[in-house]
C-alpha cells in the first residue's frame, strides 16, 4: 500500500471547477431524463390499464423491451445505431447539428429506460387504488381518459409516491453511464481528475459523498412532501 493522500489537490483549480460542472451535468441529465421518463411512463402506465386491447399491447411491448435491455446497451443503440438507420442527411443532422447531441441522446436513452420502469409503477398504483373505480367513474358520464386524469391517476400517483422517488434516485445514479458517450458528469469528472492528478481516490471519495447527500436530501424532501400532500396525509385523513 503506497498512496500519497493529498486532499488539497481537489481544492485547486481547475479540479474544483470540474467537480462542480460535473455535478451540474449530473443534475441536468437526471432532470431531463426524468421529465421524459414521467411523461412516457405515465402515458404507458395508463395505456396498460386501458380497456382497448391494441393500446394495451403497444404499451406492454414498450415496457418489456425497455426494461429488459441494459441501459448502457440502450444508450449505445441511440448513439451508435439509431442515426445510422435513418436517411443519411437526417442521421448526420442528429449526430452533428442537433443542439448538444450527446446530451439529448443521453436524456432520451435514460428517459425511455426509466419510463418503462415508471410505467410499471403507475400501473401498480392504479391497480392498488382500484381499477374497479373505472366503471363507477364512467357511470358518472366521464370519458375513459377523463376518468384516468381526474380520478385514477391522482390517487394512483399518491400511492406510488415512494417508489417513484426511488426510481428518480435510480435515474440520478444511471446518469453516470452517459460518461460512455462523452458527457462529463460527476463520475466522469472524478475519473478525469484521476487522469490528471493521479489522486483518483480523493476525487472518487468526494463524488461518493455528493451522491450520498443528493440521495439523502431527495429522500428527505420527498418524505416532507409526502407527509404534507401525499399518501401519508391521505391515509391519516381516511382513518
Amino acid at each position: 500500500m503506497n498512496y500519497n493522500w493529498d486532499w488539497g489537490v481537489l481544492l485547486q483549480q481547475p479540479y474544483w471547477g470540474w467537480l462542480w460542472s460535473g455535478l451540474g451535468w449530473t443534475l441536468l441529465i437526471s432532470l431531463g431524463s426524468w421529465v421524459i421518463a414521467l411523461s412516457v411512463g405515465i402515458s404507458a402506465g395508463i395505456a396498460r390499464c386501458m380497456p382497448n386491447r391494441a393500446i394495451q399491447i403497444v404499451a406492454s411491448v414498450y415496457i418489456e423491451v425497455f426494461r429488459n435491455i441494459p441501459p448502457l446497451v440502450q444508450l449505445f443503440l441511440w448513439y451508435f445505431v439509431f442515426p445510422e438507420l435513418l436517411p443519411d442527411a437526417l442521421g448526420l443532422w442528429i449526430k452533428r447539428d442537433l443542439p448538444n447531441p450527446e446530451y439529448v441522446t443521453a436524456i432520451v436513452g435514460l428517459g425511455l429506460f426509466a419510463g418503462a420502469r415508471v410505467a410499471e409503477q403507475i400501473r401498480a398504483g392504479i391497480a392498488a387504488v382500484g381499477i374497479h373505480l373505472l366503471p363507477a367513474a364512467l357511470a358518472t358520464g366521464l370519458r375513459p381518459l377523463q376518468a384516468f386524469r381526474l380520478i385514477l391517476l391522482p390517487l394512483g400517483l399518491r400511492a406510488v409516491f415512494g417508489p417513484l422517488t426511488s426510481e428518480f434516485l435510480i435515474t440520478v445514479k444511471m446518469s453516470s453511464i452517459s460518461l460512455t458517450i462523452g458527457m462529463l458528469e460527476l463520475t466522469a469528472q472524478s475519473r478525469h481528475i484521476e487522469n490528471y492528478t493521479f489522486h483518483g481516490l480523493e476525487a472518487f471519495a468526494v463524488a461518493t459523498v455528493v451522491y450520498l447527500l443528493l440521495g439523502l436530501s431527495v429522500t428527505g424532501l420527498m418524505r416532507v412532501i409526502d407527509r404534507r400532500f401525499g399518501a401519508a396525509k391521505y391515509r391519516r385523513a381516511s382513518s
Binding site: M1, Y3, N4, F80, M183, F198
Partner: protein, 288 residues
Amino acid sequence: MKQYLAKALAAAGLVLGFSAAAQEVDSVIKKLQASNTITVGYRETLLPTSYLGDDKKPTGYAIDMCLRIIDEVKTELKLPQIKINYVPVNIQNRQALVANGTVDLECGGTVNTFARNKQVDFSPVSYVAASQMLVLKSSRISKFDDLNGKIVAIATGGSSEPELKHIIAANKLNVRIVNVDDHAAGLIAVESRRVDAYFNDNAAFFSLIKQSKNPSALVVVGPEYGYSPQGFMVPKNNPAFLWIVTHAMGKMFKSGEAEKIFDKWFKPFGVQIGPKLRAAWETFSYPE
C-alpha cells in the same frame, strides 16, 4: 497470518489517510540480486511500441529497447541470467504499479510529465510524440485553421485536451469539442462523421489506422503540436538502477543501435526520427 495482518494494517492506513513509509533505497537492485528476476510492465495494444504479438508475447519498439537495458543490467551487476517477469499494464494502472514497486521497469510509451515525476522516475527519452489530427481524406482538413466551424473529438483525460484548447484560443477558432472514451471511440466518431477530426497524440494513430475497416480513407494531418517526450518508468529511490538504465540508453543512442531499433518498428508506418527526438538523444550521448 502476519502477512494478512500487514495487509489489514495497510488497508486501515489507506482508509485513515496515512501513506506507507518511504521505500528503501535501491530496492530494485536488491531484489534483482536476491531473485535474479526483473518485473517488466508492457502494454497489450500500443502498436508498434509495446504490444502482444501474434504469438501472445510482448513485443515492440519499447520491449526491444528494454531488452538491451536488461543486458546492461546483467553486465553491471555481474548476473549471468535474469528472468523477465512480464506484467500487462494500462493507462490507468501503469503509474501506480511502478510507484508501489510492483513493476521495476515500465516499457511502454508514457509521457514524462511533472506530475508523474512526483511519483516515479523516468529513463531518458525513448520517443517524442506530438499531437496531430486524424481525419477522413474527404474532409480536406490539413491545418488547424481548417477546423473553424468543425467538430473535433478528444480523448477524455488525455494531454491533448489542454493543447486543443490552446490551439482554439490562439487561432480564434469556433470548434465544438466532443469527448470520447477511448481511441476506438475516436476512430468510430471520425468514420461515422460524428466529428470532423480526432485530435490526439500521434503515437496512438498507428494502431487505429491499422484496425480501421478502410485505412486508405484516413489520413494524419496538421503540424506536430507540442512536445511529449516518452520514457520508461522506474520506481523512485533507485539511483543505481536508474543510472544503469540511463547509461544503457546513452550507449544505444551513441552507437546508432537506438536508431536501428527505431527504424525496425516505425519505418513500416512511414515514420522517421524527428529533430526533437534526435536532439533529446544527443543530450544523453555522453563520452565514455
